[in-house]
């Protein structure tokens, strides 16, 4: 097992990141832009900034690269989504507008597994399922509306290219059919249902507390759905079949801060991360899921007091202020460390905002601290 690869890419928050399927490109969101990096096959080398996509006038909320690696999809709080394609003549990325027809921010976007369509979630209580219309040279959308009544925070496509899971701020994780007539082949029946016209609601699950769902994901075989929520719990649902109540709904509480993102490594292994800045691995099946291990060993900031430094060293006024703040807040005197000590014992110094699968045994994370890290699991 080798060490994680850490890329510090500026200090602005990275809300979302994605690697191209061949791992040669990496895209990260940065304020109103998306930065494209060329990665080296030697992961120890820092990715080189290739270009910056400027086309949105508000914060970019999500980025995704199509399964063939050719198209980059971005969406933003400016209510737009753009599809970027590399133009060899001018050697730059050219955007195509997507007709989303939404009145509020777009929050999340995801390509379908075959790359012919994509879904954009919004705070307009709409999921726009978009596909390309060649005659007009633009992307048009069909809306999934009912019974959505709150902001969509996350989306995940089923491997069959038709079912779409969405997590929202009302605490629901729902599974819809996003079948587009004339574009998709008739899907095989799955545990989620057999007749799937557009907008069929195939599953609607609420987490125990009703807290925000931050991320949803189908398992690799598509037979279960996982979601993480703001109450620091992980939910996994195993459906029984059409019209039947689910075989099992499992809710695993954790003892950490809220969870922001999850990714299935295998059908029986999930990696989650979030506000506690560390990744946690869960393992289980339809009978039971439980916490397996943490990827990084983590010190508890409340309990573990950093060792006192040499008393003779001078401290700056800023550090002195911090010291008194500590006395005030925690009733304990910690002489501030003067070295370049990290505040947290984990690599990420702030919330992990997205986790993606990098390889069979690696996941990549991006964080509010401006880092992208590739961890071995």
């Amino acid at each position: 097992m080798s060490n994680p690869h850490i890329y510090q890419l500026g200090h602005e928050p990275i809300k979302d990141h994605v690697f191209s399927p061949d791992r040669a490109l990496m895209a990260i969101t940065k304020a109103n832009t998306v930065e494209i990096y060329q990665t080296s096959s030697n992961l120890a080398q820092k990715p080189k900034l290739f270009t910056t996509l400027k086309g949105h006038d508000k914060t970019v909320t999500s980025v995704d690269i199509s399964p063939d690696g050719a198209k980059i999809l971005t969406c933003s709080q400016d209510r737009n989504a753009l599809v970027w394609e590399y133009d060899h003549a001018s050697s730059e990325y050219k955007p195509t507008l997507v007709l989303l027809r939404i009145n509020r921010a777009a929050t999340v976007c995801k390509w379908s597994p075959d790359g012919t369509k994509f879904a954009v979630g919004s705070s307009d209580r709409i999921i726009a399922v978009c596909y390309y219309e060649a005659e007009n040279d633009w992307w048009v959308s069909k809306h999934l509306k009912k019974p959505l009544k709150s902001t969509i925070t996350s989306l995940s496509w089923h491997p069959n290219n038709v079912l779409l899971a969405a997590g929202s701020t009302d605490g629901h994780a729902r599974v819809f059919s996003a079948y587009i007539k004339g574009l998709d082949a008739k899907p095989e029946p799955t545990v989620w249902g057999s007749k799937l016209p557009f907008q069929t609601l195939c599953g609607d699950f609420i987490n125990e507390t009703g807290a925000w769902i931050h991320d949803v994901a189908f398992s690799p075989d598509g037979n279960s759905l996982g979601f993480v929520s703001h109450d620091a719990s992980l939910g996994i649902v195993y459906p029984e079949g059409e019209g039947l109540p689910p075989k099992a709904i499992l809710n695993v509480r954790t003892s950490y801060l809220s969870l922001k993102s999850l990714v299935f490594l295998t059908n029986s292994k999930i990696v989650v991360g979030g506000h506690n800045c560390n990744l946690i691995v869960f393992e289980g099946d339809e009978h039971n899921w439980q916490e397996s291990y943490k990827i990084e060993s983590q010190k508890d900031l409340i309990k573990d007091v950093p060792e006192n430094q040499d008393d003779d060293e001078e401290i700056s006024s800023h550090q002195a202020l911090n010291m008194f703040k500590q006395m005030d807040l925690k009733g304990r005197v910690n002489k501030p460390s003067t070295g370049a000590n990290k505040a947290l014992s984990t690599i990420h110094q702030n919330t992990i905002s997205s986790i993606k699968l990098f390889s069979n045994s690696q996941v990549s994370t991006s964080g509010i601290d401006g880092k992208v890290v590739i961890f071995n699991v």
Binding site: A211, D231, A232, R253, S255, L257, S258
Partner: protein, 152 residues
């Protein structure tokens, strides 16, 4: 200029989500049930079964009940906590015996009682319970107290 950030823009949408709809549906707990439960808890306390009394009090909080019922139960939990603190020294041992959901509920009632005048007078006691609980459970129950839409 008008404070446009405070305009309720949802009112212009016909069919919007109301705060009530966000609360997960649960069966209603009647006032009589909670009165009966508080008697049961008190008798457990007087016979010295402290862990049992606490577990009983935290097992099924009245999430869907009137305010009067909720505060009655909260007072019962507070009494239980005071009584245990006065009679037993190893709070940690008692907390460890609780199930994870009971521990979550304990934190909820600690916060709720901190907000009451009676609780404020016994702040040290509540903080003591809180410290011991979080030492065992980590921050999860605190996060769940803040994010849970079912209030105690």
């Amino acid at each position: 200029m008008e404070d446009w950030r405070r305009i309720d823009i949802d009112q212009f949408d016909g069919d919007h989500l109301t705060p009530q709809e966000l609360i997960p549906e649960l069966p209603e707990t009647s006032h009589d049930e909670i009165v009966a439960l508080s008697k049961q808890i008190r008798s457990a306390l007087t016979s010295g079964q402290f862990s049992e009394a606490l577990a009983l009090a935290l097992d099924s909080p009245p999430y869907n009940a009137s305010d009067a019922t909720k505060s009655l139960h909260s007072d019962t939990v507070f009494e239980t906590l005071c009584s245990i603190k006065n009679n037993r020294s190893d709070l940690s041992g008692i907390i460890k015996q609780l199930s994870p959901s009971q521990q979550d509920n304990l934190v909820k009632y600690l916060y709720r009682n901190m907000a009451t005048p009676a609780g404020a007078k016994q702040g040290g006691l509540l903080l003591n319970w809180f410290e011991k609980t979080v030492e065992i459970t980590g921050l999860g129950p605190v996060v769940r107290y803040m994010s849970d839409r079912r209030t105690v």
